[in-house]
């Protein structure tokens, strides 16, 4: 058997498609378990398993094909209502899916999989055996796909030869009705043909093949009897041989040729017979070409001389090549390439692009954005320097510059759009996680997902997954109460966790909300005091918002005991770190007994941010606009010092003030006149700088491996003039810790 050759591109499509199907399967399994649209879901899971089976068998991933075949058997029984959907079966299907995922991952990585499929095959087999008595025939389908074909085949070729040696139709067990029809027809003088068809022993779906022969014969005359009968074919009880009687005026040789043209037919014998089912004396003459055919077939030789049979181009199993190659060669038309090109155009509107290519494009466009700024600045200088008589040239240049600027902006927007992915790609993995978690914790949880179509830069999506996972874990493990506790609190036993994404101006809001027991603010405070993170007097004076910020400090957990799932007090710390890395902010809202809502406010992209450019000492800095509240020009006397810490009174609030030069140990001095009010976790502080340079879009560049991650800095950018400006990470620069210390000093 010839096989397809697969390029890496083909396999990539296979793996991507399989991954999509597995995801769909997972979603449907979760829905299935909830009892939600059971029929449609079963059909969809079945289809997914079926498609994976077909594709993986084609590629030659036998383990995947075998496993999906097994799943299909179980699903088929569920679909037909022969087995009920139980938690056990759903769990088995989940397990099977996980094994499939691993097999896919191993295959995709090009490594030999050491995944053992036998345990899960055993589980699925077990599911099939349950209620086996109800439908024994269905349950005994062997798991290995290829093996079925052989099992179906009744007559191996050796046996077929023996049968063919005696007139096959003579011993046919006809019923009274059939015998009567034969006699009546012969009495009228109609020509009766006996037909014997042998199929390739390894051929699949012999009932369909038999039916195709049946259809053909029926079309050609009056079909009196067939073995197998039509109902046997419909019950899928056909073997490798079909015999039939037919009143017809067709030429036996032509008819044999036609039958032979039906797939998997190895041999077709058609000859006139008498009403008793025996050959008639006046048999047609054997055609000159036939003897050769008979001898190559080797099966009908004994019929040969005594009873001339028409043997139509027998196709012994050994030599299929000549036949199958010929049509391929013959069918090549001269204009093949042009035609296929045209049809390909019609079918494709999307292309798959490597992520790396998108990243490169984004980088290049980032450079363009820098140059755009540079060009604009140079234009400004040129405008001033050049005499008015040259103004035509300048105007021309100015127009071109402006145009390049606009195009660059558009290009940047388009590329950013190309990098956007719906958050669905991320959210889709959560239903399964929440389900498993709820099962482990003994809780009932419904996860509601909203705004899946909301699009985010793929860089952001990669980074935000872990924080969301932590938040969901917390909601299920700590937020949602066990069913009994919920019932006694007058809540529905099934807890609700809502994960949603939405647009808000230039930001994406991701919200994780639950209707659980809420966060006990006093509990958080005392835990923080117990761990020595906050002084008890300070804790007592903290506002709710401030106390909630403590949750993000490593080591604070109010969970009484550490569970398998969470409660070690590290989760929220990780959440905060990851969220900060993204230039995002996090807000928390909780009511004891009612629930908790956590909102993450994300920038649309990580690659380009809007920033306020400031001058401080010898450096130029970029402060992300996301954290800027307002800017002030301050006179030195407006700054007050309380216990060695500088503060300013702004709109009736006392705000701590930090000199940027001091924070970065810049000894250049400078002349601080401007104050940038920034907000961190809802708390405002002032950053004292020399000069405000205006706001602009900056392309974020990593500081690189040499510098690594520096607290207070999130990266650098190149300005229009070519100089480098450092991008300030306000959150880590003025972490709640630092702010709290300042406040502590203040209060003390």
């Amino acid at each position: 058997m010839a096989s397809f050759e697969f390029s890496d591109e083909d396999l990539k499509v296979f793996f991507e498609e399989t991954e999509e199907l597995l995801q769909a399967m997972e979603d449907d399994l979760i829905g299935l378990e909830k009892g939600d649209e059971v029929e449609a879901r079963l059909a969809s899971i079945f289809r997914a398993a079926h498609t994976i089976k077909g594709s993986s068998a084609t590629v030659g991933f036998t383990a995947m094909a075998t496993l999906t075949h097994s799943m299909e058997n179980v699903l088929d029984r569920l679909r037909k209502g022969q087995t009920n959907v139980s938690t056990a079966i759903v769990n088995h299907l989940f397990t099977a899916m996980d094994v499939l995922r691993k097999l896919t991952a191993d295959a995709a990585a090009g490594r030999e999989s050491n995944e053992d499929t036998s345990p899960v095959l055993g589980l699925l087999e077990m599911d099939l055996e349950e209620d086996a008595s109800a439908a024994p025939a269905e349950a005994t389908v062997p798991p290995a796909g290829a093996a079925t074909a052989v099992a179906v085949t009744a007559a191996p070729s050796a046996e077929a030869v023996v049968v063919a040696a005696t007139p096959p139709w003579a011993g046919l067990d006809l019923d009274e009705f059939e015998k009567q029809a034969l006699q009546d027809g012969c009495a009228r003088g109609d020509t009766l043909l006996g037909v014997r068809v042998e199929f390739h022993p390894e051929a699949a779906m012999l009932s369909v093949r038999s039916y195709q022969v049946y259809l053909h014969l029926e079309e050609k005359g009056r079909l009196v009897a067939t073995r197998p009968t039509l109902s046997e074919m419909e019950q899928e009880k056909s073997g490798a041989v079909l015999t039939a009687f037919l009143f017809t005026l067709e030429d036996p040789k032509v008819l044999a040729g036609e039958i032979e043209n039906i797939g998997d037919v190895r041999l077709a014998l058609v000859e006139p017979v008498g009403p008793d089912g025996l050959f008639r004396a006046e048999s047609p003459v054997l055609t000159p070409s036939a003897p050769a055919a008979v001898s190559t077939a080797g099966t009908a030789v004994s019929v040969g001389a005594a009873t001339p049979a028409v043997v139509a181009a027998p196709r012994p199993t050994g030599v299929p090549a000549a036949r199958s190659e010929a049509p391929a060669a013959r069918s090549v038309p001269p204009a093949a390439s042009a035609e296929s090109g045209a049809s390909a155009k019609a079918g494709m509107r999307t292309v798959r692009v490597d992520v790396e290519l998108l990243d490169n494009l984004m980088n290049l466009v980032g450079e363009l954005v820098i140059d755009r700024t540079r060009l604009a600045q140079s234009m400004g200088l040129l405008d001033k320097a050049v005499d008015s008589q040259d103004s035509d040239v300048t105007r021309e240049l100015a127009e071109a510059t402006a145009h390049v600027g606009r195009i660059t902006t558009q290009l940047q927007e388009e590329i950013m759009r190309a990098r956007m992915l719906p958050v669905e790609t991320l959210f889709k993995k959560f239903p399964r996680m929440v389900r498993d978690l709820a099962q482990k914790c003994g809780k009932q949880v419904e996860l509601i997902i909203e705004g899946q179509d909301t699009e985010l830069d793929r860089g952001v999506i990669e980074e935000i997954g872990d924080p969301i996972m932590h938040l969901l874990r917390n909601s299920v493990d700590h937020g949602i109460e066990p069913p009994v506790a919920r019932a006694s609190a007058g809540k529905p036993p099934v807890g609700m966790v809502r994960l949603s994404a939405s647009h808000l101006e230039n930001h994406i809001l991701i919200t994780v909300e639950d209707d659980g027991k809420g966060i006990d603010v006093e509990g958080v405070k005392s835990a923080a005091v117990r761990k020595g993170l906050v002084a008890s007097e300070l804790a007592a004076r903290m506002s709710t918002q401030e106390a909630l910020q403590l949750i993000f400090v490593s080591g604070v957990s109010t969970a009484e005991k550490v569970s398998e799932v969470s409660g070690r007090g590290v989760g929220m710390d990780v959440v905060r770190r990851n969220v900060e890395k993204l230039n995002a902010s996090i807000e928390m809202d909780t009511t004891v007994g009612v629930g908790t809502r956590i909102t993450i406010k994300l920038p649309l992209t990580l690659a380009i941010i809007r920033a306020l450019m400031v001058q401080a000492g010898s450096g130029t800095y970029a402060i992300p606009m996301a954290s800027v509240v307002e800017t002030l020009i301050v006179a030195p006397e407006e700054l007050k010092t309380i216990h060695g810490a500088e503060v300013i009174v702004n709109r009736g609030q006392v705000l701590p003030v930090h000199r940027l030069t001091r924070l970065f140990a810049d000894t250049c001095g400078g002349d601080p006149r401007a104050l940038v009010i920034v907000s961190v976790g809802g708390r405002k502080s002032g950053l004292l700088v020399d000069k405000l340079l205006g706001d602009q879009e900056v392309v974020v560049k990593n500081l690189g491996l040499f510098l690594g991650s520096i607290p207070g800095l999130s990266g650098a950018t190149i300005l229009g003039g070519g100089e480098v400006a450092l991008i300030i990470d306000v959150q880590s620069l003025l972490s709640p810790h630092a702010a709290m210390t300042a406040r502590e000093e203040l209060i003390a």
Binding site: M1, A2, S3, F4, F6, D10, V13, F14, E17, T18, S44, F46, R47, H50, T51, K53, G54, S55, A57, T58, A65, E72, V141, G145, T148, A149, A204, M205, S207, V208, Y211, Q212, L215, M233, E234, E236, N261, I262, G263, P320, A321, R323, S324, E325, A326, P327, A328, R330, S331, V332, P333, A335, A336, E339, S340, S343, A344, A346, G347
Partner: protein, 119 residues
């Protein structure tokens, strides 16, 4: 004139494979990812042969055969089936499908089955 084949399969991978094979062998290819699209594509392109998958979302292969044959009694449709789908294939043949193939596909068999339909 190259013969036109409509490949109907919800698995993109299978369509891709088959399309490549057929183009290499001089066929013109049109694709559809489910039965409903197949019915429309049939109307739009009038293919010489349809390679029809059975298990598909929205409209399965059997329904598509019925829909196509209902309007075009001479449509040549070859079912692409898997082992265990004998009953459906039988139904499809009854509904007018000409032939069937069993997955995993052997390229030679696909070409032979198509050749049989177009010659």
């Amino acid at each position: 004139m190259p013969k036109k084949v409509l490949i109907v399969d919800d698995a993109q991978f299978m369509r891709l494979r088959t399309a490549k094979l057929l183009r290499e062998n001089g066929y013109e290819v049109v694709e559809a990812e489910n039965g409903e699209v197949a019915v429309n594509q049939f109307e739009a392109h009038g293919p010489d042969v349809v390679l029809m998958d059975i298990t598909m979302p929205i409209m399965d292969g059997l329904a598509a055969v019925k829909a196509i044959r209902g309007k075009h009694p001479h449509a040549r449709i070859v079912m692409c089936s898997a082992l265990g789908q004998q009953a459906v294939v039988l139904e499809a043949i009854k509904a007018g499908a000409r032939d069937f193939l069993v997955k995993p596909f052997d390229p030679d068999k696909i070409l032979a089955a198509l050749q049989k339909q177009v010659s």
